[in-house]
Symmetry: C2
Subunit: 217 residues, 2 copies
């Protein structure tokens, strides 16, 4: 498959890129082409060090989306609507995966719940109906994902309304060693996933433990 | 210590009672004295089967609270305010632990967030200021807690504003083998803990896995 990762220059984007590059063509998207190309080169070099072949390219967001089967939205919440506007003409029937979390800091990290219920519901209303939206990867450690040899004994929670799209994302999760996909409900249930990100940051800060993820026992 | 468990006839109440009864006096509270006494007898018999001595009694909620150092609120959200009203005269400087979660079911389980932000914030406004409130135990499997010999390799997330009260609850968590207490922020952050309960129920239902808890990795 061809997977576009928008906001692919951030650490969770990098982690997904280097993990999925073993089986798929990865297109890093950014608002600036040079930044995307530079990130693509960097990730390619990371994999080369482990003698792993890959096809990672970089370009501006609309070009990345136009080529892709799966589009990962890994941009800050403040930029998500402008990002979707910029790719609107290139969205057809792709599967879009939202990792987006609205957060604010006020002594601790808070989930800044949008009036629509979640970032996912805001994003859904901005996407064409032909696109299938899935919410996932809110509780996976980006740092551990980036370490290509590290096995993540964690769960990935998935919310979505389209059975096929959910299964495509489940399969992408299973490609990463020891990650387990778990369905958490329809897209509307996404706020329960999105609020895991600030929870994990708080747990890390208050208990001085780094790079936490969640495993259900 | 003397620990009163209000709503102690439910499964999470039972689990905490049989675990803490090894080190503390447990008072099961209920609106009906007979129900509390019957539960106390039942839990005592469970421990007797394992040759474990304990002191578990049962009485109406106000009597339970009047004797207690720690009061666990383990009642349904709909009953929490009337329960607090009934014990108001018996609350002095106890530590109150809220396990309360407002939930509704509509195809899946939803966190039914109160306007005040969380059940904990609603409860705080109903309690006298002299009482210290801690929010905890929202993601622990009640069924596993009830199985006295089962080691729970799980985390207990704790929100609270009083350092001493938080530490008392942390110590109570550590008394249960393999349970790890993790501070998740001030009481105001409790919504991020409370929403874990419906999330775990959904994960159990949609993935056909029973009695889930959370471990951070």
């Amino acid at each position: 498959m061809k997977i576009a990762i928008l906001g692919g220059t951030g650490s969770i984007g990098q982690g997904l890129a280097v993990r999925w590059a073993l089986n798929h063509d990865i297109i890093i998207g950014s608002r600036q082409c040079e930044k995307a190309e530079s990130a693509a080169n960097e990730y390619t070099n990371v994999l080369k060090k482990f003698d792993m072949a890959c096809n990672i390219s970089g370009c501006i967001n609309p070009d990345a989306v136009g080529q892709a089967d799966v589009v990962v939205l890994s941009v800050p919440y403040e930029h998500v609507i402008s990002t979707i506007e910029s790719i609107q003409a290139d969205l057809k029937d792709q599967i879009v995966v939202s990792i987006v979390v609205p957060m604010k800091k006020d002594g601790y990290f808070k989930y800044d719940q949008p009036a629509a219920g979640s970032a996912a519901m805001v994003i859904k209303s901005a996407l064409p109906e032909s696109v299938k939206l899935v919410s996932a990867f809110h509780s996976v450690s980006a740092k551990k994902l980036c370490k290509i040899k590290e096995k993540l004994d964690m769960d990935v929670f998935i919310c979505g309304d389209d059975e096929h799209a959910n299964q495509v994302v489940c399969d992408l999760v299973r490609e990463i060693p020891k990650l387990r996909p778990l369905i958490a409900g329809p897209l509307e249930a996404s706020s329960m996933l999105e609020s895991l990100t600030p929870l994990l940051i708080n747990l890390a800060v208050f208990n001085k433990i780094k790079h936490l993820g969640i495993k259900c026992e």
